[in-house]
Amino acid sequence: MGQQRVVHYINQFFGQIGGEEKGNQTPIIRDGAVGPGLALQKLLEKDATIVATVICGDTYFAENTEAAIDEILQGIKKYEPDFFIAGPAFNAGRYGLACGAICQAVKDNLKIPVITAMYPENPGAELYAKDVLMLKTGNSAVAMKDALSRLSGLALRMINGEELGFPEEEGYIPQGCRVNIWAEKTGAVRAVDMLLKKMKGEAYETELPMPVFDRVNPAPAIDRIQDAVIALVTSGGIVPKGNPDRIESANASKYCKYSIERIDDLTSQEFETVHGGYDPVYALQDPDRVLPLDAMRQLEKEGEIGKLYDYFYTTVGNTTAVSNASRYGEAIGKDLLANGVSGVILTST
């Protein structure tokens, strides 16, 4: 038997404890392979050994998820696994959720590669497929033989450190990463090919399904603006001269917070822009053009707003990935709330 040590997770049914009535089974850890693990072991034989099998009731896992995960993680550590396999769960919902959750936990805590397998419509797939590699299977155990053969194949390739190909060829559920590859034809020729197919009513496949956006509902209007603390936030890259925190001019890896206490006007001697997506000439001449501090101080003096918050927040919104931008937005929002700010002027460029 092979060098690599594998732990396998299955539910009470496949662990031959019993059916639905045994769903409350707490985790049991057995040496070696059990149930479908026996067939899996035969397929893995040359390269890997199933050193232990975790059997857990689906109901127990669903109702005591955290406790079950803790118990399993503790229990399998002593086996020093190199690899973790869960399922296949087919279309069993709670089993699928358990396979996803335990794989995620093992991956995050034991830092070893994991794989599970289930029917793509299993709720476990929706919840965990992004982070946990999931082989697509049929919807019932009738598909067991096929599932185990493909599961062992993928597992062996992962164990051998091979990089996996695309979901269509490898049979796993897409994990939502857009990867650059070289096409055979140029984009222009592909575009004309696709248009001619579309016009003739022939089948074609878009290369980029439209992404789905989060929608943010606007906050209600501020009741008494003359009492409100208002903050300035910009994605226009205004920073103290010299860019002390080295915000990148594109795809910024951070946002920063700088004091504007006792400053009434942003001058080109003290502030600049590091944004790489627009002509900086006018912003460099007068940074107020992007972060309108002078105008806000005026409004503050005239009593139009209660107070301008003592700090501004800044980042560069140039080719910046939405995932990063969302993270900065959430963090800035939390900080603003904690500091009693009730309104924000957000300037973009």
């Binding site: 096409a183 592909r190 878009t206 980029l208 990935a321």
Partner: protein, 428 residues
């Protein structure tokens, strides 16, 4: 209407005492060319460097790339409004130096110039690494403001390209390609059974050095208009666009617009090329709406049944792209969109800034956020320090051994939204 392109395959570039082309080698009289460029009083000095395919050379920061060409028959001259006068171009015979390009180099905006690697893994990301490149290094007069500096370098680029192209004027090309194009009534009479396809050609003219010039005119603020495909091939559209290097359309992209070339090559065979609709990407929503409604109007006037729409840049231009798509589809004109993505380094973010449900046929030219490490080169043309501030680079980009780690957004034309290259993405 017919344009014959006479192609000269350039296999090497050399400095010499006479500018000429012999056996595929382009010889350049550096002094003569330098004096010609220095006729512009904004240029204090100019030098030239050469880069050839496969050499261990990195050029950075590059503003624009232009292909050398010269008109030997027909009205007007290449790059009308800059080199040629205002006669319309697109007919007659134009000579083009293939596998050869002029890359203007030097700091202007400092953020939006790009990289070409002539060898190594970076060379895979654009076609320019396979070309013989002439690099004018332009030293502006002291105190020249950025906007005039940009205009000076832009003009120097097309002057160099036409000067080099002119060296071919009395020679016989290696290869000829003839593009034929009829007025829409004649085209419909000739090809009644072929699908009528238009090209909606989005260009970025937003002011503040995000501008494009047609016959010398900055077309910021124009209503969408028609232009013939062969005019574009004769250099009627010039880039003045300082946007992210990976997806700004450099002048060479316009001169060789691959969508126009493909539609012309299939015209009369697989499709009837109904026309090119040039439309601007403004920063203002009202302009975006006006432009997109008018593009659709023009598409209906010329009787298009389908349209390829290409984008330039990213972010707010996605709204123009989606409005053009939505309006055309609502008018019963089928569309394919050509774009690229900023999906994050892990490829997991939404890669577009705007969407519409009608956009069900989209070509992507890659994810600009992909991080690559490019090995050191023996020679750098320009200044390697610029990598710290160009789009795609950062203060940690340059490593002590001269290798650089950048997002491919910094590589010239890597995700060109005209579909000039072969890069695309797949879901993993």
């Amino acid at each position: 209407m017919q344009l014959e392109i006479g192609k000269f395959k350039i296999t090497d570039v050399q400095f010499s005492d006479k500018t000429s082309i012999k056996n595929g080698v382009l010889y350049i009289n550096k002094k003569e060319l330098g004096d010609y460029l220095k006729e512009d009083s904004n240029i204090a000095d100019v030098d030239f460097d050469l880069a050839r395919p496969g050499e261990s050379v990195r050029i950075i920061p590059i503003k624009d790339i232009v292909q050398p060409m010269y008109k030997v028959k027909g009205d007007g001259q290449v790059f009308p409004g800059f080199i040629g006068g205002f006669e319309t171009v697109g007919e007659g015979v134009t000579h083009v130096l293939e596998d050869c390009a002029v890359a203007t180099c030097g700091k202007i905006v400092n953020f939006q110039e790009g990289i070409i690697d002539m060898s190594g893994p970076g060379a895979a990301y654009n076609s320019f690494s396979k070309m013989n490149i002439v690099v004018p290094l332009i030293q502006p007069i002291p105190g020249l403001d950025k906007h005039t500096h940009e205009a000076t370098v832009r003009l120097a680029g097309v002057k160099t390209a036409s000067y080099l192209g002119k060296a071919s004027q009395d020679l016989e090309p290696d290869e000829k390609e003839v593009f034929t194009y009829e007025g829409i009534v004649e085209a419909a009479r000739l090809y009644p059974n072929l699908p009528r396809v238009a090209y909606v050609y989005m260009i970025q003219c937003q002011g503040l050095m995000h501008d494009t010039y047609v016959y010398g005119l900055n077309v910021k603020g124009i209503l969408s208009t028609l232009i013939s495909p062969t005019e574009v091939l004769d250099g009627a559209i010039i880039s003045g666009n300082c946007a992210a290097p990976c997806h700004k359309n450099a002048t060479i992209h316009h001169q060789n617009n691959p969508i126009i070339l493909d539609l012309l090559r299939r015209h009369g065979k697989e499709l009837c090329f109904a026309g090119v609709i040039l439309t601007n990407e403004s920063t203002m929503l009202a302009d975006k709406k006006r432009g997109a409604f008018y593009s659709t109007k023009l598409a209906r006037i010329i009787g298009a049944e389908g349209a390829v729409i290409s984008e330039e840049g990213g972010g707010n231009p996605e709204t123009d792209l989606m409005l053009n798509c939505k309006n055309l589809e609502n008018a019963g004109i089928r569309t394919v969109l050509v774009t690229d993505e900023y999906a994050g380094r892990d490829g997991r973010s939404q890669g577009l800034a705007d969407v519409t449900k009608e956009a069900d046929a989209v070509i992507t030219n890659g994810n600009g956020n992909q991080l690559v490490t490019l090995p050191p080169m023996e020679r750098v043309i320009g200044s390697i320090e610029s990598v710290a501030i160009i789009t795609g680079g950062s203060s940690g980009s340059l490593h002590p051994d001269g290798s650089i780690t950048v997002e491919i957004a910094g590589i010239m034309g890597s995700c060109c939204e005209m579909g000039y290259e072969r890069l695309t993405t797949r879901l993993k």
